[in-house]
Amino acid sequence: MAWFKKTKETKTDKKVKTQEGLWVKCDSCKEIIYKKEIDRNLKVCPKCNYHFRIRARDRLKLLIDEGSATELDSDLMSGDPLDFKDITPYKERLKENQKKSGLHESAISVDALIEGHAVSLVIMDFSFMGGSMGSVVGEKVSRAAEQALEKKQPLIIVSSSGGARMQEGIFSLMQMAKTSAAIGRLKDNGIPYISVLCDPTFGGVTASFAMLGDIIIAEPKSLIGFAGPRVIEQTIKQQLPEDFQRAEFLLEHGLIDIVVNRKDLKRTLARLIEFLS
């Protein structure tokens, strides 16, 4: 691997910039791959089947019937209940992320069709503050569940999140209970809820609505867990096994129902909806 290190050291910022957009290094197998090839392949590594993180709106396009989406609650904006300041005040951090991502928050909520079936669909976006759940995400998820109940249509949530959002403190924590309670109402009324876990899903999101699906699906190789691997490593002072907290590991331990390739996700959701409704 000596040659590899060397190229890394000699890389300057400029060089990276010129290469950016053309070549991408796979997070999983570390192969350098032509970006267009990955894009053509739904952002899945053609060498190792690693599923790259994708933006919520791109994911939406992959999952629903073209032009069928009506976005809901897009005007919800987070407050700053703690008046939280770290290096940047929370309000500014939100603005930065809104500008950077083109989203108001780390989740979008839509009413849409999947192969003709009406669904309530929430998709999280990891690029907005690590997909973290604050009051707005909690509210969107809860409203989506309530709407699914009202319209008697399935709820689908695609998660990708670092967990509860620290900057909203106890309010973020309470979103875990709020969303779980909203999901609970679906269980009493026979409304299917399918949870799709993507890389990465952790903390307060896994420990609330994400693990409450009637059916739980994960994308291949996604990292999914309660505590982050670094925290676990620091606690137990041991190295973690290679496949630890990967989708396949969760499947092996009986924690999820199926691992589904991105290209098959829409069809799988449609089939499950047909089975359950």
């Binding site: 709020k178 420990a207 693990m211």
Partner: protein
């Protein structure tokens, strides 16, 4: 008795040691120094009042974690007339970081469940420092379902640094165990009363904390992340963090009982004796019992349907956002 003093209690420690020494000297001798001792005792009280009236959030965090602080089983011993501990999740094992069982308080049968930290090295390890595994949460849910079947109120005591982050915990579904508790607690058809007696550490605390009435002891804390965890994320100094950093993080997180009541997340603060609950556990237990009895009395008139609806509305209200229309 060997007492444990926190750093900011040093002036108190010095005076109390002096009083003890004076007592020892005067013991069995003719010299009367009782007036001297009285003076010193008043001084201790004054200093303690002063220190405790201006505690910072970080100092409250340290009191919430105080090694002498009463734990769930201490309160169970003090408030119940009868108690039988029940064990195990019927699936994997008995998690000793969560205890629970059937109890009688003032002739009412209740189910009490709580996080349990240990006292002394051996018990601390046995109790995993109050950090539950999934089987702990599943045991808790099993006991809550028992309470529901027999129509008994549920009392939960919250006191944990958090759910345990370990390999076994992940393999057995830590996140799922917590999530299921949150969902099921929102639908349990019997009153639930939660009291944060020490540390309310994130999801691991909340998994016993979805309730109709939530109280916090005066110097307890409840937060989405520990001040240490928050500081590590914000200032990324990797192990180089100081008490000043933790203190700053504790303030930023707004994790005190006083903060949570101002946010309307909790229903009440139960005052502690001067110096903290460990200074007078009997008195503390009496106060806790009073609050439990009042809440039970108030909630028992509600039908299960109403109880669940109000619990749901309470959760649905929590959040801080605006609708820009």
């Amino acid at each position: 008795m060997i007492r444990y003093y926190l750093e900011f209690e040093k002036p108190i420690e010095e005076l109390e040691l002096k009083i003890e020494e004076l007592r020892r000297i005067s013991n069995g001798k003719d010299i009367d120094i009782s007036s001297e001792i009285k003076k010193l005792e008043k001084k201790v009280r004054d200093i303690r009042s002063e220190i405790f009236s201006t505690l910072t959030p970080w100092q409250k965090t340290l009191i919430a974690r105080h090694p002498d602080r009463p734990y769930t089983l201490d309160y169970i011993n003090l408030i119940t007339d009868d108690f039988i501990e029940l064990h195990g999740d019927r699936r994997f094992s008995d998690d000793k970081a969560i205890v629970g069982g059937l109890a009688k308080i003032n002739n009412i049968t209740v189910v009490i469940i709580g996080h349990q930290k240990g006292r002394g090295t051996k018990e601390r390890i046995q109790r995993n420092f109050g950090q539950p595994h999934p089987e702990g949460y599943r045991k808790a849910l099993r006991l809550m379902k028992l309470a529901e079947r027999f129509k008994r109120p549920i009392i939960t005591f919250i006191d944990t640094p958090g759910a345990y982050p370990g390999i076994g915990a992940e393999e057995r579904g830590q996140a799922e165990a917590i999530a299921v508790n949150l969902m099921e607690m929102s639908r349990i058809r019997t009153p639930i009363i939660s009291i944060v007696i020490g540390e309310g550490g994130s999801g691991g605390a909340l998994a016993l904390g979805v309730a109709d009435r939530i109280f916090m002891l005066e110097y307890s804390i409840y937060s989405v992340i520990s001040p240490e965890g928050c500081a590590a994320i914000l200032w990324k100094k990797n192990g180089d963090l100081s008490y000043e950093d933790f203190s700053r993080a504790a303030s930023a997180l707004r994790l005190t009982a006083q903060d949570l009541i101002s946010f309307k997340i909790i229903d009440g603060i139960i005052p502690e004796p001067l110096g903290g609950a460990h200074r007078d556990p009997e008195w503390m237990a009496k106060k806790i019992l009073e609050n439990i009895l009042t809440a039970v009395e108030e909630l028992k008139t509600k039908t299960p349907g109403k109880l669940i609806e109000e619990r749901y509305r309470r959760l649905r209200r929590t959040g801080s956002f605006e609708e820009m229309k």
